[in-house]
Point group: C2
Chain length 183, copies 2
């Protein structure tokens, strides 16, 4: 288990997240806004479906990094979605996990702490390869200093493409060709 969290601590995080959702429902019920409550519930269900899809991709290490990222005290809030769900391979799991770990840490060092920083990752796992669409919005400190990381990905199997960066946004795609990894 990541960070040697024991079960107790792990459930504490989960409970905290879910209680926030329940309080949001309760608050809107008290304000007599049943339609808003239904919207919130639909958002929760959509979110859990994405969590289930991510969990089913067969890349458990990578999925775990994403699932627990918001408990890791990074200075950004992560959201993700899974839009194409071709099953993955062990080699992809290792490569993607190494890369995302380095990316989270590098990004965290280059953004303004406690600013409104959001990271959105869209995952497309297709027959010929896997593509991540990465979109950071927030405040980047000295955006150019991210360049070494963006120019030199941590694995030959991964390519970073269509990079756009300024002080408020970082957008790029990660492409992993399945043919090269033996499928």
């Amino acid at each position: 288990m990541n960070k040697d969290w024991n079960t107790i601590e792990f459930l504490r995080h989960v409970r905290h997240d879910w209680l926030n959702k329940i309080q949001l429902i309760k608050g809107n019920l008290d304000l007599n806004k049943p339609d808003r409550v239904k919207e919130i519930i639909n958002e929760i269900i959509t979110e859990t479906k994405q969590e289930a899809k991510l969990s089913n991709l067969d890349i458990p290490q990578f999925a775990t990094k994403l699932l627990v990222a918001n408990w890791e005290n990074y200075y950004f809030r992560l959201e993700y979605e899974v839009l194409a769900e071709e099953k993955c391979q062990i080699t992809e799991d290792e490569t993607l996990t190494d890369w995302i770990t380095l990316f989270f840490e590098t990004l965290n060092q280059h953004i303004k702490p406690f600013a409104d920083n959001h990271l959105f990752i869209s995952i497309h796992s297709m027959v010929d390869g896997l593509r991540l669409y990465v979109d950071f919005n927030g405040i980047l400190i000295n955006a150019e200093s991210m360049s070494p990381f963006l120019q030199q990905p941590c694995s030959k199997q991964l390519m970073l493409e269509n990079i756009e960066i300024n002080n408020k946004e970082l957008v790029f795609e990660v492409w992993m060709n399945r043919e090269k990894t033996g499928k």
Copy 2:
């Protein structure tokens, strides 16, 4: 982590439990029963408070056994409450965990599978000792065969008291004296 559950599997269980609660809220909203929804939300908040109290008793192994019991495929459903919250000790954690593990397994072997079996444990951790009030309701197969377990607790530090047993109910108290364990 118990049963070598990895994070993915663990979160799958948690997600499933919480989605059941959300569906219950959604169903009652759709039936236009906002008062029932408020009741359900209050029950959820109460339940999570008990979970937090249990987590704060400083008996992590014992707490974990209770927290994950309903994912262990036992033929009973566990509920618990924490009514007195004096902090516990490491020796108590080991003794209680050994005992509860044996109790869950023994009980599971002596109840009718897939019957409406409920186990309720009330935890009172006081200055002079810790007391568990255990109440099983359901169908016990051959209740007498539970006797060896009930007569001979797994540790000298634990005493089982006020035992009542028939084919539909098993009630007893577990007493652990703090003076004997060195506090």
